[in-house]
């Protein structure tokens, strides 16, 4: 029976939900602790620097030397997707470097809201960097909300404008491979980051730098310097540690206790 079946009205917790309720509560508690510490300027652990992030500046530098533009895409999903949201700090970082080196930054998107947000981010970053005159609305493009039509347009664009660097940071579907191939064909240095496990194999095989899954949020948090973003990443890190220890303990108990394994039974109550 689902949640609405008879007999569940008076219960606080449905059978089978004890373990999940505890884990969810622990994760929330860790997040609140981290947020509290971040907000009050208390000491927080450092985040490991990822190689993919160090190269952002280098990518823009390369484009400057070659006299060609840099391209960035947040993928083809809408801004409810956390991967798309994580792309904005990276976009800011890229726009700062582009402003510094006076190199055109092309941005393409496949969602109207993402387009509006990206356009505003780029314009704002250029203004903050004191290079407002560099902002060109023609460089920020909404192409299509159909992923393959979007990819077709990007492919044509890459053939004609040949960006020297291509940053793909966000959620991608089946169009990912078309984008990678277009970038490789244009001779772009490519950085990709996604949590979409179906497209990761292509990114790993076809790009110069790849950030896998959680690494993209860490990248966004360390680039932005935003204590809020950092605190969620740290809380999740601790949570991973808890789950890893739980699995290890569970495996040992299961090996010793056999099918009557009390830990597993308790978690599934």
């Amino acid at each position: 029976m689902g949640f609405d079946g008879p007999g569940y009205g008076a219960r606080l917790l449905l059978p089978g939900y004890l373990g999940s309720a505890l884990l969810a509560a622990l994760l929330l508690a860790l997040m609140l602790i981290c947020l509290f510490r971040a907000r009050h300027g208390l000491r927080m652990p450092h985040l490991r620097r990822l190689p993919g992030i160090r190269v952002l500046e280098e990518m823009v530098g390369r484009a400057t030397e070659m006299g060609r533009p840099v391209h960035m895409t947040p993928g083809t999903d809408d801004p409810r997707n956390p991967q798309v949201l994580a792309s904005f700090p990276i976009l800011r970082q890229l726009a700062l470097a582009a402003a510094r080196y006076d190199t055109p930054l092309l941005h393409t998107s496949a969602d109207q809201i993402v387009y509006a947000l990206s356009d505003a981010t780029i314009q704002q970053t250029y203004i903050e960097a004191g290079r407002a005159s560099l902002y060109d609305p023609e460089h920020v493009r909404y192409l299509s909300d159909n992923p393959f039509a979007y990819a077709a347009a990007v492919m044509g664009m890459f053939r004609r404008e040949r960006p020297a660097a291509n940053v793909m940071f966000g959620n991608f579907g089946a169009e990912a491979l078309l984008l990678i191939e277009a970038g490789a064909d244009a001779g772009s240095l490519q950085l990709a980051a996604t949590s979409n496990i179906f497209q990761l194999p292509f990114f790993v095989a076809g790009c110069d730098y790849t950030l896998i899954g959680e690494e993209m949020y860490v990248a966004a948090a360390s680039v932005s310097g935003d204590p809020m973003l950092r605190s969620t990443v740290i809380a999740q890190d601790w949570m991973r540690l808890v789950v890893a220890l739980l699995v290890l303990a569970g495996a040992i108990v299961h090996t010793l206790a056999g099918p009557s394994d009390p830990l597993r039974r308790w978690l599934q109550r």
Partner: protein, 200 residues
Amino acid sequence: MSTSLAVWTGALLTLAVLSFLYDDNPAWRITEHLYVGLAAGYGLGYTWQNYLRPVLLNQVGAPGGWIWIFPLVLGALLYTRYIRGWEWLARFPMGIWIGYGAGYILAYLPRVVVGQVTGSMVALNSLSNVALLVCLLGGFATFVFTLPDRPGLIRTAGRIGRYAILIALGVAFGGTVLYRFTLLYGQVHFLVHDWLGLGH
């Protein structure tokens, strides 16, 4: 050879798209622009036919359906993002949207995760179970970010985890290549069979 206009259009457009593999050319550019334009038009029709019209007819139009006016207005606020000075209004639907999504997933995800966790508590009595546990813990160690100088054990585990992830991605890569190939096969089958009338 086919005599159908639809088949001929499909076949010529397929060839025009494939011609991109040789080089950029006018036929490809026409298809590229045609595709982007078609997708925009199709998107409009699709949204009307599948989202707006059913909601307006079946929900807003039904007795007592006036209550749906509120979510409609709330959704329309998303477009204030394009009106200078009114952008802040778009935050309300966005906040509700994201909050609802997060709450929904938080209600259902943990139980699946607990199922995965208890499913991973394997008895260490066979090589494959030990390998499973080592790769799993290695995978966790790969994604430890808060220890800048990771202790040796975690660093080694992380390396094992990274290799395990790469192997898994390699397997997925193989599956994807085959899947993509069936897509190409379908289109070539259309050219050979439906258009040229050859083959089975």
